[in-house]
Amino acid sequence: MNPRNDGPPIVLAAGLRTPWARAGGAFQREDAGHLGARIARELLARTGLDPKYLNEVIAGCVGPPHDEANVARVMAIRAGVPDHVPARTVARNCASGIEAVTSAVASIQAGQGDLYLAIGVEVMSQYPLIYGPKMTQLFARLMSARSLGQRLGALASFRPSFLKPRVSLMEGLMDPTCGLLMGQTAEVIARDFSVTREEADQYATESHQRARRARDAGRFAREILPIHPLGRDGAALEHDDSIRDNQSVGALAKMRPYFEKPDGVVTVGNACGITDGASALIVTTQDRAEALGLKPLARIRSFAWAGLDPRRMGLGPVYATAKALDAAGCTLADIGAIELNEAFAVQVIACKRAFESRSFAQRELGRDQAVGELDLAKTNKNGGAIALGHPVGATGTRLLLTAAHELEVGDHELTLATLCIGGGQGGAVVLERMAR
């Protein structure tokens, strides 16, 4: 029933990530080209994989630095990947990291190659402020001014308001097709599914507690490389630094709604943070992995992309998961552990209700029955983006890495990584344990 099972089994052979760092913090002087290259170099070194064998380097990045066009190529060269190996940067907003992996899978299925390095990277600290169109026009007039008079004329048109910067980060978080900020789309589905502020704060608190427990138990150590950030001397950043050890519902309750005042339910506390990070995975066939002496983490059983109403982009996981499960030939109940990206607490809860709603399935998915029960006990067991952060281009690779490790940790047959995507999309990947 799954056409993808016809080809050679495709695996995630190894993976590694940096700690996730709050934007404006540890990685504020990094840039995507350096941070992504660092994690790629380390992954190649630790696997002993000679990069000359790579067919391509594929990187996902939502906001590549303006001075690092095709940031995948920049990272590849800086990672010591030889010149002959090509590189491309792919984008699917918040799913750009997963897009890098699924692009590799598609290339392998198309017979283009069998060994890919997939990178997800985002340094949101470095999103620039930009001049508005009036200031840009003024510069243009100045550049083309031939005489002193023209130059003075251009200068005279200047108004202090021209200097008001456009914040590319905020503008990037706005969907231009529906005029809503991402947080506002979360408010829409909170209303659709009657998610309350209390439920959201409760969920957010749990995310921090789960992340803290995972960190303290050393469960992240297997996937994190400590980083000595550029521009910061001294000790390394060893852990995700936005986990709040003492987060409480009481403290969260005091926060004011950020996107819809005064009655909204989304606050800064129950949403994911603005974050920097990078993550890399080796995508190859099972045969090739064995030939290279690698012990793969997981087999990619299926993946799917889906589109939906941009104003309700947070429900993307429901649409994509339904398709991916069908392609994998299994049900939600068969999945042992789920990584469902926590863009917003209300969004996860709304997804749960949509997963379990028969009418939603009939209306939106064209199915008779609800997709299935989303058991929060097995969802985001190590906390999610609300605690760890959400470096948009890198999150996808992190979800896959964690979901792959969960196969081993929880002794599961199948795990799932899924996320919502600004602009109204969802992505989902079903992973399968390697045969023992």
Binding site: P226, D233, A235, A236
Partner: protein
């Protein structure tokens, strides 16, 4: 003048073969330096002879409008004067005649009616630039290999073929003075900015552009100094000031030990007002005077020692070993961090491993700071900065080293620890990957024992601070293969270091020699000699710092550790003084602890105030300065003779080179052995015998001052350790 005054080499080719003239168009001549007997053309007698003939012919040809002088390739022009010649000439008249001859030749070129253009690239030092300066215009390639300047003062002479006059006239006195005193070789961009050259182009276009300029088809305006030439170069007051400042600078840098810079200052200051007819005489007089000084000969011998060291990086047939691409450095202390940073800056990808995240952080911070300084000084461009940052990775523990082709450990000086580290690396890495140890006191053979493939184990002893110290001792163990020695030496050279190959003996070479030197200094100090006086006499001798200041710099504990291992290795003649035990007990370790012989509180170190409490006067304070110097230097000299006799290094040149680059032994002496040879080996034997009998020497360190057998032998024989 048709007789050539320079000595004619034995392999001199037939007349007319060294300089070729091409006539691509009727009014254009291209003069190509292409001597068949030289892999890199130099101004030797055959070339001068042929150039003379060519220039005379061209002068007579009235149809010519343009003449281009160029090399056989865009990156091979001329390498200046034949330095071997400078080293061998002992008669000042030969220097004088050669200078006059070249002045005459270059004046002829400068007087040619056709427009002359020097089209240069690659190294353009000394005489090569002086020829170019005699042309109407200079065009250079923008290739990285292009290095242009007048380095003569670094060899103890001055630019004697017109450079001391033509350069100041072209670029002004202050810039010329700086260029000549530092001897710096500039890249093309900088040379153009200074006005030394007039035009920069790509190597592929060099001859075409030069031809177009020579034929007047392409404008090539010369940068003029404008009013500056009046207000600075022709202003006696300004010149006096510039001269005074320059002399003061030279005094501070060299303590007046080198005569050449002073001669250069005088010539350059006088250049703007000198009559053209006096140029040759004044330069020739200076060269004749300087060329025969022992300082010049010593500097030339170091130059050749260094050239010889460069050959160590190639196989017996000149083949180059595979370049190291990916290095593992284990231990992120001062040494490991320094080695890793230098490797990364020279294009090697590095994984620097340490268990301490803090040490790694410090190492990376140092690396980044070093690069930032270089970027802000425009020594490197932004992309090179980024690449060098990305070439150094900090790794928590020795993981992921499998793809590295070279490893060096700089962990604690404990045999078991080093063996464990290298053993772990050996398991991960390929069988032919080099495993190097940066040990200073352990035996390479002991470390190599039981490691798989011991032929790839080698010692690579860097000196602290790694980025600055130019010497690397390469220690060959019993099993180490020739190929591994060559590849390691090639790596040292790539890092900009001078390699010296040593046998695996305690202390190797430099530390072994420093042992008795520093120990004598400590004993003199304990015996009551004023500490400042001790340091001063050695500064006056020509060392870059006094022995007590050096102990502070190295660290009293490190020096003590080295002394102990020398004692274990060589017995009683190396028994260290116990005079510094209290320093160690008090953790008074020198610069790193803030207090040693000096107080280090930022700024200039000041002498510690309580030093007399360490002294037990034994009468040595009444010894004269010369006597103090002899005790320290001859103790070291005698040990050097022993080391040479044991074959610790291959030849006396290597030993001299190691002392100059490893301990800063005064370059004007030409190295430790050369110093002794010049002073007279029999004098030294006598002095050693006398020292051995000194009352406070008797009863300690038996053998230290007993002349080494090969010393007595050489003293009785040729008076030199070198076979002629």
């Amino acid at each position: 003048m048709d007789t050539v005054s320079l000595p004619m080499p034995a392999n001199a080719p037939a007349p007319g073969t060294c300089v070729r003239v091409e006539r691509p168009e009727p009014a254009l001549a291209i003069v190509v330096f292409d001597p068949p007997h030289r892999s890199f053309p130099v101004f030797d007698a055959p070339l001068v002879r042929d150039l003379r003939t060519v220039v005379d012919t061209l002068r007579a040809d009235k149809s010519l409008r343009g003449i281009v002088f160029t090399g056989r390739k865009p990156d091979q022009f001329l390498a200046g004067a034949d330095i071997e010649g400078i080293g061998s000439i002992t008669d000042p008249e030969v220097f004088r005649r050669a200078c006059h001859e070249l002045h005459d030749l270059f004046n002829t070129i400068a007087g040619l009616e056709a427009r002359t253009v020097a089209a240069v690239g690659g190294p353009v030092p000394g005489g090569a630039l002086e020829l170019s300066l005699a042309c109407d215009r200079i065009v250079a390639t923008d290739d990285r290999s292009t290095r242009i300047g007048l380095p003569e003062t670094q060899l103890g002479i001055i630019p004697g073929w017109g450079g001391s006059h033509r350069l100041p006239l072209r670029i002004g006195v202050p810039a010329a003075l700086d260029a000549i005193l530092t001897g710096r070789l500039f890249d093309a961009r900088k040379a153009q900015k200074l006005g030394i050259i007039d035009r920069v182009t790509k190597p592929e276009y060099l001859v075409r552009i030069a031809s177009d300029i020579a034929m007047g088809r392409m404008p090539c305006p010369r940068k003029t100094r404008g009013l500056k030439s009046v207000f600075v170069d022709r202003n006696p007051l300004a010149l006096a000031l510039i001269g005074r400042k320059a002399r003061k600078g030279v005094d501070a840098k060299t303590r007046g030990k080198y005569p050449a810079p002073y001669e250069a200052i005088q010539l350059v200051l006088g250049a703007p007002s000198a009559r053209h007819s006096t140029w040759a005489t004044s330069e020739a007089d200076a060269v004749a005077k300087l060329g025969v000084t022992p300082e010049c000969k010593a500097l030339v011998s170091i130059f050749f020692g260094n050239e010889k060291a460069k050959a160590l990086g190639k196989g017996p047939d000149g083949e180059r070993p595979a370049a190291v691409e990916h290095a593992a450095v284990v231990g992120a202390g001062t040494m490991g961090a320094g080695i890793a940073s230098v490797l990364a800056q020279k294009g090697v990808r590095v994984r620097l491993a340490d268990l301490s995240s803090e040490a790694l952080g410090k190492a990376l911070a140092g690396h980044r700071k070093d690069l930032s300084v270089k970027k802000s000084r425009r020594r490197i461009q932004a992309y090179e900065f980024d690449a060098a940052i990305d070439r150094l990775d900090a790794v928590p523990g020795t993981i992921g080293m499998g793809l590295c082709d070279f490893a060096i450990e700089a962990v604690a000086e404990v045999l078991e620890v080093k063996r464990k580290v290298l053993g772990a690396l050996a398991q991960d890495m390929a069988d032919d990957a080099i495993l190097a140890t940066n040990t200073s006191s352990l035996s390479v053979d002991a470390i190599a024992q039981d490691l798989p493939h011991p032929e790839r184990v080698i010692g690579m002893h860097f000196f602290n601070p790694v980025p600055k110290m130019p010497l690397v001792e390469i220690i060959r163990g019993h099993a180490t293969s020739d190929a591994v020695v060559t590849r390691t030496a090639a790596l040292a050279l790539r890092l900009g270091k001078t390699p010296v190959i040593c046998r695996d003996v305690p202390g190797f070479l430099v530390n072994r020699l420093l042992g008795p030197y520093l120990d004598e200094a400590v004993r003199l100090f304990v015996g009551g000699v004023e500490p400042l006086r001790l340091d001063r006499v050695m500064l006056d001798f020509g060392m870059p710092m006094g022995p007590l200041a050096l102990l502070d710099e190295v660290g009293i504990d490190i020096a003590g550790h080295a002394a102990t291992s020398l004692h274990e290795g060589y017995g009683e003649r190396m028994t260290p003084s116990d005079g510094l035990q209290r320093f160690l007990d008090d953790k008074r370790l020198g610069k790193k602890s803030g207090l040693g012989f000096y107080q280090h509180k930022g700024g200039k170190p000041e002498l510690a105030t309580d030093l007399d409490s360490f002294q037990r006067p034994s009468g040595v304070s009444s010894l004269g300065d010369d006597e103090l110097v002899d005790r320290m230097v001859l103790a070291m000299f005698n040990e050097a003779c022993r080391a040479l006799g044991e074959g610790v290094v291959e030849n006396p040149e290597a030993l001299d080179l190691a002392t100059v680059f490893g301990m800063g032994f005064a370059p004007f002496h030409g190295g430790l052995l050369r110093y002794g040879e010049r002073r007279g080996l029999s004098t030294i034997v006598e002095r050693l015998q006398a020292l051995a009998k000194a009352p406070d020497v008797q009863g300690r360190n038996p053998g230290r001052f007993d002349p080494a057998p090969n010393l007595t032998q050489a003293a009785a024989g040729s008076g030199s350790f070198r076979s002629k």
